[in-house]
Structure formats: structure tokens, C-alpha cells
Symmetry: C2
């Protein structure tokens, strides 16, 4: 692997870039990180991700791979140490299902929360709590999160949900990660946040709060 040249294009605040950073760190892959600018995208980013023009983009020996969950699978296949996905096809399917679930369901709600007017924040918070409650339902004895202290694909695909939920709680002064609503999930997020690899990769909490408070103040348009 000494000839491998790995580059990651990202922006510091992105939960999807976070996933890739965690996976590379867990695998011990050395890489060059390139911080891009979403308001003034680099020509390299536009060239590497022609379709979406978005980060993260992983460039491995000159070849770009895009979409964070696709990148996670790629990393797991190329660097075999510390497997991220479970061996069992059924467990693997469940991991993929829940990773897709949070992208399909939580991303639009976050986007709405970052644009909601104060008068309507409780409605949107309720939607978010519903999604977290559904996510909670995957935490049953059949599905292992963070078995032992070994982070999995599920852990690094979903950890951002807990972190960004806390950010939104702070910005909007609402309750999302309520112990009555999602006790197992809250416990699991706390465990994952405590893992040293995750701690090293998470963007600074206060910096995120400041960044998204600013964003929210400029984009308050959602009032349903």
C-alpha cells in the first residue's frame, strides 16, 4: 500500500465528510485532506464530481469515488484491516438499510430545521423526534452497534445524526434526543462520541453551533 495516493476533498462542517474521515482513520490510511469552499468550489472538485459537484470526494490513485456511503464501502473493500461492514449478509443488509434511512429521512428534516421560523420550530422538531424514534427501533438485540469497542459501518454512518441533533437542539432551543423518546439511541450516541477516533474526527461543537446559527439566521423561511 506504500504507493497509494489518497486525497479527500471535503468541507469541515459536513456530516458526510465526517463519515469518510472516520473510516480512513479507523483503517489507518494516510491521506491528504483538501478543504474546499462550497461558495467557490475548486476546479478539482468540479472535475472529480461532475454529476453532483459535492463533497466528499475520495481520490485514490487519481480515480475519484463520490457519495459518502459508496465511499465507505469502497474503503472497506480496498483496505481490509478493521472490517466496517459485518460478514453476515443479513446484518450487512440491515446496516445498509439504516444508513440509507438516515440519509433519506434525517437530511431533509435537518435542512428544514435550519430554515424554520421560531413559530414553527416545534412542528419540525416533532418530525425529527419521530425519525429518531424509528431509528431507535433498530437497536434491538439482533443488531449490534459498536460491539465491544470496535466501530462499525453503522456507527460511522449514523454518528452524525446524534451530533447534529445536539447542534440543532442548541440553535433552536428544542428537545430532540429525549430519553423518553429514544433512550437506547441516546446511550449509543454517547458511547460512540466517546470513542477516540470519533472524538478526533468530529468537527468542534461550538464552531458548528456558530456556523449553523449564522446559517439559520440568514435562511429563516420555513413556516409550516
Amino acid at each position: 500500500m506504500t504507493q497509494d495516493k489518497v486525497k479527500l476533498f471535503g468541507v469541515w462542517q459536513s456530516p458526510f465528510v465526517l463519515r469518510v474521515k472516520c473510516a480512513l482513520k479507523l483503517k489507518g490510511v494516510e491521506y491528504e485532506y483538501v478543504e474546499d469552499d462550497l461558495l467557490n468550489k475548486s476546479s478539482m472538485l468540479l472535475q472529480y464530481n461532475l454529476v453532483y459537484k459535492k463533497v466528499p470526494v475520495l481520490v485514490h490513485n487519481g480515480k475519484p469515488i463520490v457519495e459518502s456511503l459508496v465511499i465507505l464501502e469502497y474503503i472497506d473493500e480496498v483496505w481490509k484491516n478493521h472490517s466496517l461492514l459485518p460478514e453476515d449478509p443479513l446484518e450487512k443488509a440491515r446496516s445498509r438499510f439504516w444508513a440509507k434511512f438516515v440519509d433519506d429521512k434525517f437530511v431533509p428534516v435537518i435542512s428544514k430545521m435550519l430554515r424554520v421560523t421560531p413559530a414553527h420550530k416545534e412542528n419540525v422538531a416533532k418530525d425529527a423526534r419521530e425519525i429518531l424514534k424509528t431509528l431507535e427501533s433498530c437497536l434491538n438485540p439482533d443488531v449490534q452497534f459498536s460491539e465491544g469497542n470496535k466501530l462499525t459501518y453503522m456507527d460511522i454512518a449514523i454518528v452524525w445524526v446524534g451530533y447534529y441533533a445536539q447542534i440543532l437542539e442548541k440553535i433552536l432551543d428544542v428537545k430532540l434526543l429525549d430519553d423518553d423518546n429514544s433512550p437506547l439511541l441516546n446511550k449509543w450516541f454517547k458511547d460512540v462520541f466517546d470513542h477516540e477516533v470519533i472524538r478526533e474526527c468530529l468537527p468542534p461543537f461550538d464552531k458548528l453551533v456558530a456556523h449553523y446559527t449564522n446559517f439559520h439566521e440568514q435562511h429563516m423561511t420555513v413556516d409550516d
Copy 2:
């Protein structure tokens, strides 16, 4: 594999069920097909897909797997004959990327086309052609579709796009699969439609046209 019990819950008109039928047929997996009713969903479906309550659901030895692309990966991992996904991690990533692309981009446009008023059909058709043009761009010498006569994950993940585009052309009297716009894609769709497994799995064209004409007549509300 003689003890395997495989059941597929579907509806005949679903492009996502089509994917799963093709994969099972290619692998030679014997299964029981259960036609569900979207207007009156069976208790089995609701039980097996608690989160989305949607088809397809594959039930393998009593365990449900949901989401068509997750199911394709599962089938490819459990039944090893006739590999669907390529061996190379980079090619695999590209296949996953394009399969996700059509779900993210083409599904909402189809949904809009099935609801568009006649006055606005050309606007939506234009959006659809843009997506097909982007999809066309993946047909370069680096990416092999239908190499030889061997169907791949890409083929069965994307074949529905061509088929349902033809259905929409018929219902709305618009041009989507224009040779000026997407010549390689059109050629590829024709080749895949000709494969005997695909021919056996595709829902009857005229039945689909009648079904979606009826749907369109009842849902014409999109006027932008």
C-alpha cells in the same frame, strides 16, 4: 441451498420489484411470489417492512430484507453464482453510484410526469431528458454495461429507467429517449430489453401504459 425458503412481496407494476425479480431469475433462485395490493396492504407486508411499508420485500428463511438496491446486494452475497457486482472495488463503486443516481434523480421526475398537466408536460420532459443525458455520460469505455451477454447489477438496477421512459413517452406524447440526446443509452436499453431474463421479467408494456394512463388521468395536478 435446498432448505432455502425465499418469498418476494411485490406489486406487478413496480420497477423496484422488477430489479429483484431479475436478480433472482439470473441466479436461478426458486421463490414464492406474493402480489400485494398498495391500496390495501397485507398484514404480512406491514409486518415485514415496518419502516416503509413498501414493496419489494424479500423474505429469506423468515428474515425480511427491504429496499431494492439493498436486496440486490444481499442476493449477490448469498447466491454466489452469476456475480452481479463487478470484482473491482472502483467499478463496484461506480455501479452503486449510478444505481443510486437513478433512484435519487429519475424517481422524482417520473412521479412529477405522472401528475403533470398537458400544458406543462414539456418542462418536465426536459428535466427527464437532462437526467438521461447525465446517465448517458457513464457510458464511456471505462464502464462496461452488459459485457458480452452477461447481465450485471448496473443492468438490472437501471433497465427500468428505459422501460418506464417509453411508457411515459406513450402516455404523455413527449420525447425522452431521443437519439440526439442519449444515443449510447438508447442502444444499451435496447440490448438489455432483448435479454431473455429481462424479457421474462418486464411487466407487459400495454398493461403498464393502461395502468399509468389511468393514474395520470386521476392525478393531473402538477403545473410548474
